[in-house]
Every structure is written in structure tokens, then in C-alpha cells.
């Protein structure tokens, strides 16, 4: 456990995140241009899609069905648990609780990538088809979160526009599109593009995490306004959801590495797809809550402590 934690903390990816946060703290003039950030996120999403599609083309469908069903189930369940905790324990209003529930049910693609890397490093690689599960986890949770809000009365946003945003958002288009390309091309067809999309991946991720560190640190300015409960929620909820994900992943037939990665996915909170959909569907919810919690608290927690924790748990349960 400790060596995995240390290896994870000292990986270039996490250190780049820390450097980004540090740069903001000391008010450095370092700035990642927005177009580069966007290009990197397109690259990363398409790359994991391609990789997943290729793996999917080599995997018998029967191996994927169990984990896929488990993932959809978790995607429906976790926004409900998050909403219940926020309402009952946090006494949060319905709108903001539903908005946060959509984020905590959904998945952060970067947390997923980091978990895959750490599991690989720890000698328990996850299944190649895991990116397919990311797409399966991302959508239902946002829909359930918004449904909770819409079931409770009139809303200022538009349900139709929000659904459009969920289904046609860049992360889903790139993930599913990349998977389709990788699946059709197969391993032979993928060979020419692999030097770019596979070899460059970790480097691009490091650069991306530098910006994520800066974004997270900027978010911390809002920490005081969101209150201590949300800070606790941003750490405790991922642990509960993560443990659930590891356990269910194991039951669904995933390997130790796969269960750990699923745990990290379930524990993570979306900060690209969900904010966009929630902003359209629930404009009256306060973005300071869901952005600060998912990006400022849960993401750094998972990156440093959470992922090694889910890995250790998966080893205990599965090993």
C-alpha cells in the first residue's frame, strides 16, 4: 500500500499537478493557453477512446457484459446516494444537491486515466475495455441527477438542451467516436497512429495535469464560501463510492486492477461533461459549489490518496 502510494505521489503526472498548484500559489505568470488546453483534452479523450476500441475488438463480448451492467447500475445509484447525503446530512437545498449529485455520479476522465496508469505501475493492469465503461458511467448519472431536480417542480433550464449537451458533449463524442474508430480499425489499422496517440499520451497527460493543478488551486479561492460540510463531502463521498465501485467491480468479474480503476471512476466527480450539462439544465444551481467540490477537493484527493486506496482495497478483496 505504502509503496504504491509513494510511487503514485511521485509520478510525473501528480508532480506536474502539484507544480501547477504551486505556480498559482506563488502568483507565477505561468499560463497554459486555452487553445492548448482544449487541444490536449481532445487528444486525451480521443486517445483513450481509440485504445479502448482496439481492446474491445479483441475482447469477447461476454467478458464485457457483466462489468458494463454493473457500471450502468452504479451510474444510476451513486447520484441518488450523493443526493441523499447532501439533503439529509448537509441540509442542502434541492437544486444544489441535485447539481452536485449529477457531478458525483458522473466520472472524471482524467481520474480514470490516472488510475489506469497507477494500476499498470503497481503490476495489476486493468482491462483494455475500461474506456467503454467510462462512457457508460458518464451519461446515466447526469441524467439521474437532473431528473431528481426536474421531478421536484419548475426549472429555469431546459431539459431538452441539457440532454443534448449530455449526449453530444465533446467528451462523449470523442470517447465513443474514438472507440468506434479503434474497433473498426483493429490492431493492424491502429498501428500507424499509435506512435502519436500511445507514445505521446503520458507526456500530454503531464502537461494537462499542470493546467489542472492551476485550475484546482484557483478554485480553492472559493473554498471558504462553500463551507466545511462540502469539503468533508468532497473527501468522504469518493471513499464510499470508491469502495462500492471496487466491490461491485470484483463481483462483476473485473480483475484486481480493473476493480480498482472502476472504484476510482465511481468515486470521481465530473468537471467537464457534468458542469456543461448542469449549467444548461439547472442554471439556478450555484457553480461555485459543484466546481469547487469536484475540481478543488475531490480531484486532488483522488489523484493523491484515493487511487492508491482503491488499489489497496481491490487487492484485499480480490487477492
Amino acid at each position: 500500500m505504502l509503496d504504491v502510494l509513494l510511487a503514485s505521489l511521485l509520478s510525473p503526472v501528480v508532480l506536474a499537478f502539484v507544480l501547477g498548484a504551486l505556480a498559482v500559489t506563488v502568483k507565477s505568470d505561468l499560463e497554459i493557453p486555452a487553445p492548448l488546453y482544449r487541444a490536449l483534452s481532445i487528444y486525451l479523450l480521443l486517445a483513450i477512446g481509440l485504445k479502448g476500441g482496439k481492446a474491445l475488438s479483441e475482447t469477447p463480448l461476454t467478458e464485457v457484459v457483466g462489468p458494463a451492467l454493473a457500471t450502468v447500475g452504479l451510474g444510476i445509484l451513486t447520484p441518488i446516494t450523493a443526493y441523499t447525503v447532501l439533503r439529509r446530512l448537509g441540509r442542502m437545498d434541492r437544486t444544489n444537491a441535485a447539481a452536485l449529485a449529477a457531478h458525483y455520479g458522473s466520472v472524471s476522465a482524467v481520474t480514470f486515466i490516472a488510475a489506469v496508469t497507477v494500476a499498470q505501475f503497481a503490476g495489476v493492469p486493468s482491462e483494455g475495455f475500461m474506456p467503454a465503461l467510462v462512457a457508460l458511467l458518464e451519461v446515466p448519472a447526469i441524467i439521474v441527477g437532473l431528473m431528481i431536480a426536474y421531478a421536484r417542480g419548475e426549472r429555469a433550464g431546459s431539459w431538452r438542451d441539457a440532454m443534448r449537451e449530455v449526449v453530444t458533449g465533446q467528451s462523449i463524442v470523442l470517447l465513443l467516436g474514438g472507440m468506434a474508430i479503434g474497433w473498426i480499425a483493429g490492431s493492424e489499422g491502429m498501428a500507424p497512429v499509435e506512435p502519436f496517440f500511445v507514445s505521446g499520451f503520458q507526456g500530454a497527460l503531464t502537461l494537462f495535469l499542470l493546467e489542472m493543478g492551476m485550475a484546482a488551486a484557483r478554485r480553492l479561492r472559493d473554498l471558504r464560501s462553500v463551507g466545511m460540510f462540502l469539503v468533508g463531502f468532497g473527501i468522504a463521498m469518493p471513499i464510499v463510492h470508491g469502495a462500492l465501485g471496487v466491490w461491485v467491480g470484483g463481483l462483476a468479474g473485473l480483475s484486481v486492477g480493473g476493480a480498482a480503476v472502476l472504484g476510482a471512476m465511481v468515486s470521481s466527480a465530473s468537471y467537464i461533461a457534468a458542469p456543461a450539462a448542469v449549467r444548461v439544465g439547472l442554471p439556478e444551481a450555484n457553480p461555485a459549489y459543484y466546481l469547487t467540490a469536484s475540481l478543488g477537493i475531490t480531484f486532488p484527493f483522488n489523484l493523491t490518496v484515493g487511487i492508491p486506496l482503491y488499489l489497496a482495497l481491490a487487492k484485499v478483496l480480490g487477492g
Binding site: I32, A215, A276, P287
Partner: protein, 106 residues
């Protein structure tokens, strides 16, 4: 040099409402627009910073009447929950007919 008087409507809005705003201003009679991505900070704290998609600044030159309609619509529809600002200015433009093809030449 022959100029005509029109109104310049500027809308600075969060990215999520961009497409709806563009549809609306054209439906209300604008014949064109100029748009750029911008960053900033306001009372809602949301800026166009990096991973949040950048805000947009939409400018359109229209007649007084259309300008009012656009401003009213934006105020009514977006002010309560979105980070949006709107302001209007008088402008003198060349080729006035470009901005109001149906109207009489100003």
C-alpha cells in the same frame, strides 16, 4: 462620406448560452454578428478561464427597434440565472442598408 445611425448591441455571456443567443438575435432581426471569445470576472465569479469554456462577446449592429427587442429578450430570459451583460451604443456606419435590408435607406 455618407453614414447612417444605428445601434450597436454588445452581449457578453457565458458559453453555454451562445447558440441560443445567436439564434435569438437573428430571429429578432439582426442581419449579422461578430463574435469573439473573452475572459473576465464578474459578480457571478464565473470567468472564461481555461477549462470552463471561454465566455463569448457577441456584437451586432441593428436598428433602434431591434436593439430594444434583443435587450428586452436577453434581460427577461437570462439575467436571473446566467452570467450575461448587455449594453447598447449609438454608432455611425457606412452602407446603412446592410443592417436593415427591409427598412428604408437611412
Amino acid at each position: 462620406m455618407q453614414t447612417a445611425s444605428y445601434r450597436l448591441v454588445t452581449i457578453v455571456a457565458e458559453r453555454t448560452v451562445r447558440d441560443r443567443l445567436l439564434n435569438t438575435i437573428h430571429r429578432l432581426g439582426a442581419t449579422g454578428h461578430t463574435m469573439q471569445e473573452v475572459q473576465g470576472e464578474g459578480t457571478r465569479g464565473l470567468s472564461g478561464a481555461t477549462w470552463e469554456r471561454p465566455s463569448v462577446k457577441i456584437e451586432t449592429i441593428v436598428t433602434e427597434e431591434i436593439a430594444e427587442r434583443i435587450a428586452d429578450h436577453v434581460a427577461e430570459r437570462y439575467f436571473q440565472h446566467h452570467s450575461v451583460i448587455v449594453y447598447l451604443q449609438d454608432v455611425e456606419v457606412l452602407r446603412g442598408s446592410k443592417y436593415a435590408p427591409q427598412n428604408e435607406e437611412a
